[in-house]
Amino acid sequence: MAEDKYPTEPLKCWEEAKQLRFKYYEDYKNANETGGLRWAGGAWSFDAVPYGLGDDVYPLTGEPYGASTAFDKEFSKKCLEAAEAAGYARDLCSYMRNYWGSILLNKFTFGGPFPKPDFIWQDHICCSHAKWYQVASELEGGVPSFVVDVGVGTFDEMNDNKVQYVAGQLLDGIDWLVETTGRTYDDNKLIEAVKSEFRLTSTWAKICELNKAVPAPLDEKSMYSLYVFGVLSKAKKEYADFMDKLLAEVQDRVDRGIAAIANERTRVMSDTQPPWGFLKVFRYLEKFGCVSIGSLYTFGLTGLWEDKEDGSWGAKTTPMEKGVTINTREKAIEELVKWNLAKPEWQHFYHPQLKSDMMVRIAKEWKLDGVMLHYNRGCEGLSLGIAENRLALQAAGYPVLVFEGNMGDEREFDEAGTMGKMDTFMETLGVI
């Protein structure tokens, strides 16, 4: 065990984060009892849009649900086996199989029967996104679905045609929501939600920026429990407010030199979703004084970034900060589309070099000694191009540890083998 060098203390807002997460699933489960609406969709769906239907509209995003299910290994295994028994291949997205399995078993990870959504509101950039909910709808006996294609290419090649294609679908989607739910649509609620999304996703990037500090104020395992608000409902005002509080607390930790791990000696980042049932991997690394400061995944799945004047990578300036007036449905949608199309984790769907460039940048600016790549069999989208990323990181001079696993299917994770690899990696980094 490496010796302590820095003071450390628990996060003050940890309990609040826990309560907010618990409430999210409770709200979804109980929505229909109070006349509210439930919708299901992906973590990247434009969740600001259904907020225009009212304050009692609650989402269930599939990826965090799949991850939470994976954390309960016994139940997850039952879900995965149920999906396989229904004919679905074992190598498909494991979040998706956990989700389908929950429907098939009619069991909600957070207790009770699986709550059927009133409608599906999804986006599509990965091959599995639209198909996930196509199958889910069929398994639930037919749930009205609307999907928005965002696969228009990289942000640096953005043009009006591409923005209008996505924006047009969203405007059609609003008409569809009104028709499907029978509710009226409030553009002011949409505008408020859009602004909350800009605020939350920019603030999260600011929080991640603070992890450039040595010692790092946050470790990645803890960050997983915090970034998640950006994938549960990034447009929810309550969550944006929480992010503001978290930013203040993390800034305070940096100012006071509070470390995430007291014995920080070496800094790494990971990549893709972790094997959720085996987060103890990160605690194991701490034994050696190794802190994972995050990853492109934790930074950029939710956070929005831009090049700063000093050449560094920092939080994206929101349209409000730029003085953009958002006072109509069309303007809100257009700004929302432009904002989302800049998402770092969407860029590398088109080319691995874009991801490699971002990873090397993180490695430099966050002062890393090495990189751990999770070759994640559970997610084709975020594992896309990962072998090329490995080559690029090595070429840039960073030691790379590769371990195979699956974010949501524990049967594909070799715990002992991975720990053995971690030992070797720690030797490589000179901390053993």
């Binding site: 091959c127 198909k131 999907v147 294609y165 769907f349 070759y375 069999r377 989208g381 080559l391």
Partner: protein
């Protein structure tokens, strides 16, 4: 004449090299059949589809994680081994993530003068897809003009459209002959015909298909038709496998593959006014790859129509291992076929297939079908 298609398929690289030498033209390798070849033909470019070689290989391991489909790795292997060293350009139209990696790794490690990513819309069922794709085709056309140094006129586009449409019509006619009680061509021959069209000068190919159609009027296969099968799934040019299936007492009479019928099924309906819009409409309307078949499932009625019109008694679903899009469609396709009285056999393809083991399964499947005929 029909033998010509196999010869072309086997000697695809030699053909392309000779074509280049003879014409002085440019050859472009493409990774997906959503690529609008009409525009390339309008610029006198020879589009050739990049396919694998069905040989074991180890050159792609550093570039593509092993959970991605064997087909994308096999395609990249061809580039890394230098078999497409005559290409002047490469391109892909947005489809699945798997084949996209073959394209991006190719671009990084086997540089060519021209490389293009066409962001073909996924939401083809949205009315927003048509104007979007039309504008993207305008951008693509300009890029091709810049690359080739040739201005593409309306007449050029009309020519490109007609070359493609003629080939599509002829291939449909050839497939129609297989509706006969005793089809005059085997599934293997049809596969060579359709796949070779993706690597040969289209006009030359069409001329041979036209001649072959005359031959087919009186042609009889030496082997009895046996069970009439449809093959359904992802990319498939596994000729060894098809040959084995047809030697077990069956004939493949139709398919739903992007190497087969999905490639040529529908035409560009141009009224001579907005040509790019007409091209865009064709690619939006074509029988869909599962990556684009949502929210409604249009593949199922299309497949059921094929099964009915070609009077099939069984279906073999062939999926490239790890192919997520097809894995997402196969359960419901199997269910629908079986509920309609069409038994199915599901097999996973790899770069090489275990022909012996598959033969046992195919024979058992065919025996089951024959029993149904008997009783």
């Amino acid at each position: 004449m029909i033998e010509m298609f196999k010869e072309w398929y086997d000697a695809r690289h030699e053909y392309a090299k000779e074509w280049k030498e003879k014409t002085g033209g440019k050859v472009l390798g493409y990774f997906c059949t959503y690529v609008p070849e009409e525009i390339l033909l309008a610029a006198d470019v020879l589009p050739v589809r990049i396919l694998g070689s069905h040989e074991p290989q180890d050159v792609t391991e550093p570039h593509i994680f092993g959970m991605f489909c064997p087909f994308c790795r096999d395609c990249l292997a061809q580039g890394l081994k230098g078999r497409y060293d005559y290409l002047d350009g490469i391109m892909i139209a947005q489809s699945c993530l798997h084949i996209r990696q073959a394209y991006t790794s190719w671009e990084m490690h086997i540089p060519v003068p021209f490389s293009y990513y066409l962001p073909m819309p996924n939401h083809v069922q949205s009315p927003r897809a048509l104007p979007y794709l039309k504008a993207e085709l305008e951008t693509f056309k300009k890029a091709v003009e810049e690359w080739t140094g040739k201005t593409i006129t309306d007449e050029d586009l009309d020519r490109g459209i007609e070359i493609m449409n003629r080939n599509r019509r002829l291939l449909r006619d050839a497939y129609d002959t297989r509706k006969a009680a005793d089809p005059p061509m085997s599934g293997l021959e049809a596969m060579y015909m359709a796949v070779s069209s993706q690597m040969i000068d289209k006009t030359e190919h069409s001329d041979v298909v036209e001649e072959s159609l005359k031959e087919l009027q009186t042609r009889k296969l030496e082997t009895p038709t046996g069970e009439r099968l449809i093959i359904i799934g992802s990319e498939d040019d596994d000729t060894t496998f098809i040959d084995m299936v047809e030697n077990c007492g069956s004939t493949i009479v139709v398919d739903d593959h992007c190497t087969g019928s999905r490639y040529f099924w529908n035409q560009v309906e141009s009224n001579g006014e907005d040509r790019l819009q007409a091209i865009a409409q064709r690619y939006i309307d074509r029988p869909r790859c599962p990556t684009k078949d949502w929210e409604e499932r249009s593949r199922i009625p299309h497949i059921m129509n094929l099964a009915k019109d070609w009077n099939v008694s069984g279906a073999i679903l062939l999926q490239q291992k790890f192919c997520d899009p097809h894995e997402l469609d196969i359960p419901i396709i199997r269910k629908t076929l079986e509920e309609s009285g069409i038994p199915t056999l599901f097999l996973e393809l790899d770069v090489t297939v275990p022909v012996g083991q598959f033969q046992t399964r195919v024979e058992a499947f065919l025996e089951m079908l024959m029993e149904e005929d008997l009783f």
